[in-house]
Amino acid sequence: MYLRYQVRSIAAFMILLCITASQALSQEVPSGTQWGLGLSSQYDIPLYTFYDRFDGGANIGLKVSFVKNTTTYDITYFTSNFSNGKIEKTKFQWVFDGNYYSSPKASSDISFHGLTATLQKPFHFSIGPLLPFWSVGSGFIYYKHEIRNLVFPGQSVPPLDQNFIYSPDDETRTSFSINFGGGLAYNPAPQLKLALNFRYNIIFGYLRPMEAWFLEKVTPMQLFGIGLDLTYYFNK
């Protein structure tokens, strides 16, 4: 519900920006030194062992942007949440009878809050009105991983008591992250920039192994993100 509220707010803000931008369509990137404010949104797909845990989710954020000559520096605060982790539906095999059991009440979530700095530079060509760019960035990301109500596979007396549940300790950490990628930028107005981003993210964090559910440790966490940013620049 919280996420729906955020998405609605972002949509309203974007519409407002477009309405207030009275300039004609322009294909030029703002030059000189400018600064702006913007919104970022991205869908993140976990990779490798992280994908064994979650399918992914959306992240949204606010950013401050500086442009000097053709280089853009963004500082972004973002938040995201992946819920319905795969362990909720994964079965474990109990060694004492060889059968597979699920944890019907299980829940698994991971939330992120991050502050990152990104550098963006355009390539020396354009595709019609679209300007391709590459980007690299880093920052710190706080994450909290919660798992609740798993049936405990470590029981040793048959039959398995499926009401014997446990919750491992939450995993929380603030970790360093790096990202690199690229995208396409488009200026619907001289002071507006819309960017489609593709980013590969690495978070130097750690999730404990849960090998009873065939889950290896996750380190580092790797994600691929596709996103859309909208920035409004105030001419200096």
Binding site: F152, G154, S156, R173, T174, F176, Y206, E211, K217, T219
Partner: protein, 1047 residues
Amino acid sequence: MAPKFKTLGKIGILLAISLAITFIPNHFAYGTVTGKIAGKIVDDSGNPLPGANVIIVGTQRGSATNADGKYFVLGVSPGQYSVKALMMGYESVIKTNVLVQSGRTTSLNFALQPAVIKGKEIVVTAQRPIIEVDRTSTEHIMNSNEIKQTPIIGSVSGLVRYLPGVGLDTGNRMVIRGGDYQDINMYYDGIPMDSYQDINIFSVEEASITTGGIDAEYGNAQGGIINVITKEGGNKLHGTVEYSVAPPRQRHWGANYWDDAYHLDNDGNSRLRWNDPAWANEVDSLTGRKVHEKIDYTDMWSQSIKVGLSGPLFLKHLYFSLGTQFSQGPAGPMNVVRYTLPYTHNNWKVTYKPFPNLTVKTGGFYSWNRGYNSGSNVGTGVRFTTAGLEAQDIEGTIRGMRIGGAGRYTDDRNIFLPIGYATGGTHTSVNDMFYLSLTHMITPSTYYDLKIYRFEYTLENQGIPDTVIANGRTDNENWYYVEGGKGINYTNANKKKMGIKLDISSQITQSHLLKAGFDLQRYDSWQTSIRHFTTIREMSRIAGDYTTGKGVKPTKFAAYLSDKMEFGGLVVNIGGRYDYYDWGSKFPVTYALSKLSRPYNSYTRFRDLPKELWMNPKPLHAFSPRLGLSHPISEKATIHFFYGHVYQLPSFRDMYYEEWYAKNAKNTDKDVNKNGVVDETEVFNRLNDSSNRSHFGNPTLEYEKTTSFEMGVDWNFYQDYILTMTTYYKSAQNQVKGGSVHQFWDPNRTATAPYIHIQNNTQYEDAKGFELLLKKRFSKIFSFQVSFNLGWATEGWSGERQRTYIPDGNFVKKYYFEKYTGDSNGDGHIDGLDSGAEVPVPLKESLLTKRMLAADNYLQQLKDQGAFIKNVDGVDGLYYVSTHYSSVGHPRDNIERRTSFGLLLYFDLPQNFGPEIFGFKPFADFHANMAYRYQEGLPFQYTSMNGKALWRSAPLSSTTNLRIEKSFHLGGLTNTFFVTISNLFNNKQINNNSGFESIVSLRDYVSYGLEGYSPLYDYKFDYRGKTDGSIYLYAPRAFSFGLRLSF
């Protein structure tokens, strides 16, 4: 990159200067502590200028170009200089900010323009080359400016930990590329140290760490070398004083240790009954002291002060530098004292340059600290389990509390002993080093550097109790100690080392720099440890000639020859090193003789082992080749390659150690001559334990050896960004490891004889990995350094596991007996006229024959079985058989951290930066420094639910520290206020070092993600989340503040 130009209109006396420069020879040595400047001087058309002069401004050092316009200046101390090139008819050029590093060549070329205005000089800021083209292995050098830019890390060892290839082992000690912490050698001003000494950061001119191949002049360091060069001082007085404080706080995770949860009885009730007046106000009848007094351990400030000073002394060309540091803070929760005992470290150096071609230096350091001895085997002496009390040795010997195993055990019986209560006494350790060095330029291209040095480490004890008292006095409820017992547990030691080191360098041609030298070290080292509790009585030592308090006197010698060849861009470093070691002490043919049923089976009886059975071990020899290459790939990239062998001696403990136990700790020494006193000859005559406990040194140990390969690329891919990628492989053989045993076949014993434990060259280790270093050189406002490491370290066993010595009949006849008598003077009585020594009684003929026959028969039996029997060198009639063992390699569970990552961020706003607000510029001279490090946990082996032995690794840990500084300039003083935040993000993470297996159940951790107790068990005393101080890494977020004055 275009240099910056500033044109000055100075009138100079060029001719005079030129003449003066011509006659100033070069000086200073290009060895471990100096560098070289070399280059070419051309005119505006690019033609070489022979006879042009180069001078290091402010010194009398310089050189002149040869016919090709090339010059070199050898033996320049590390630092930043201005270098001037001049020639009649041309405008002089001064290049400032020329950085010279030890062991490196600074390339500095000049192009002189014809002079239009007489005396005109052009001043240029030299741009430090991005890529170090003469580096043939992985070496990182930090000069004093770079060290100053990283104030968040207050030590050389701290800085080094952010470099690729450097990790932390199970004991949080520095290791390099999968090696051991003992594999790192340190050089202090060119003097080899045997252990790492942390130096005041304000005294450091340059610190370098070689994690890859080392040059032939270095040895005894399979892991790497840390080279610290201290400041010399200059013509101006400079100094830095830094004072910092940290406010009171609880410096650990979890609940306060006075919390009831730590002090529960068997019924789960707290023993601390502050609300019970009778308990709370109980008074000790003997001392009148209140028994139960709660002393807060969180209300203390910590402080530290560091001072560095350098400059001229009273004579011309005489300079000094010195540094001192002192720190004190809370001793830790529930400790024997509230504040740490004082610790101080001081270093100093005096440099005298009486002539241009001669430099004399003297320097050293001195450190001192004090500590308390625990008079018990396990610290506070009591272990409490869910089953009840489990007493361990002497109780109550030292104030404090023991937390362990995630709070399952609590030793709290000593928490109400008075502050400073320690019946085991105190110890003081002193480390001091002194050296004298002479550097003499024989010719402009040849010089030598002679060093004489002395190092001494002393550990002494005070207040050791005379007797052992098992029980103390407790409170009315017979739980908390009011006065504890007394145990004896101390070590005295003295280690001296004297050395002489000579290095000669000669630039025989433009392309060949030959270096040769030797290092001769002589030791005098002893150590004695005594432990005496109710269940243990032990004496262990390192001693020469079997005499406690007398040192072993080994000699170490090394000689090397190397050539650094520079052909255009190709640099080749080739060399060889010879190492020699003489043991300097006699050893018995085997300590396993001490486990025989009768002869030699105690410390005093072993002393009387016949002379023929003592031997001098064979000296050790080793030759190690070293080859390094470096070549440019492009204008902005170079590749380097290294191959080499390094030999390293085992530790003194592995080589010389003796351990003697008593069968029954309650027995005092036997009064053999019945004179009512324990004479000197009778001391320790009850140390005759026949169990398998004892450890002894091994005189057959050889050098450990490592073969290293390395390849790396340095790439300046953009502006001042450098990427370094390195891959390495190290194969270590003959590593010393425990687990071997020696036995002596006993003709009188039918059962297996006890054995002694011995270290042996049986371990092999392999390490390989990949390192990445991305650096942005500091310019403008911002710079950073990122390092990443991916590495594998494995170990295994290959070598002798057990050795059994077997005598033949002749040996038995000469050396075997079964009884002793106290009648040392042979007068038929045992009385005070006897010395107290036990004298062997020869066997009766029939019994001797029986024993001889048994020995011969056993030998024959072994031969008939096809055993491979070897003769013990130099001892007639003594043989041995051995069993060997080898194992498949497995991860080094105390070393390997598969991945690690380090980040240093620097943010520096210059003076006059930013807006002015009410006459104040808040952003001017503002600095920030952030350090982030993460490392994967150590590997461990566990058994899965289906019985398989599997390897996994402990969780990763990370930490982030931040320091913010703001400087003001008043007169000639720079005042800097700073705030340091450690563990910035307050990460709470489980200890991934040693002890991880005691904190978690490994199977539960890997299978179910549990870092706590299994939900199967209802722990009555579940302290999870409360006893966090012992199971989590790093303290909670903390702030400290300080002020630094510099001039």
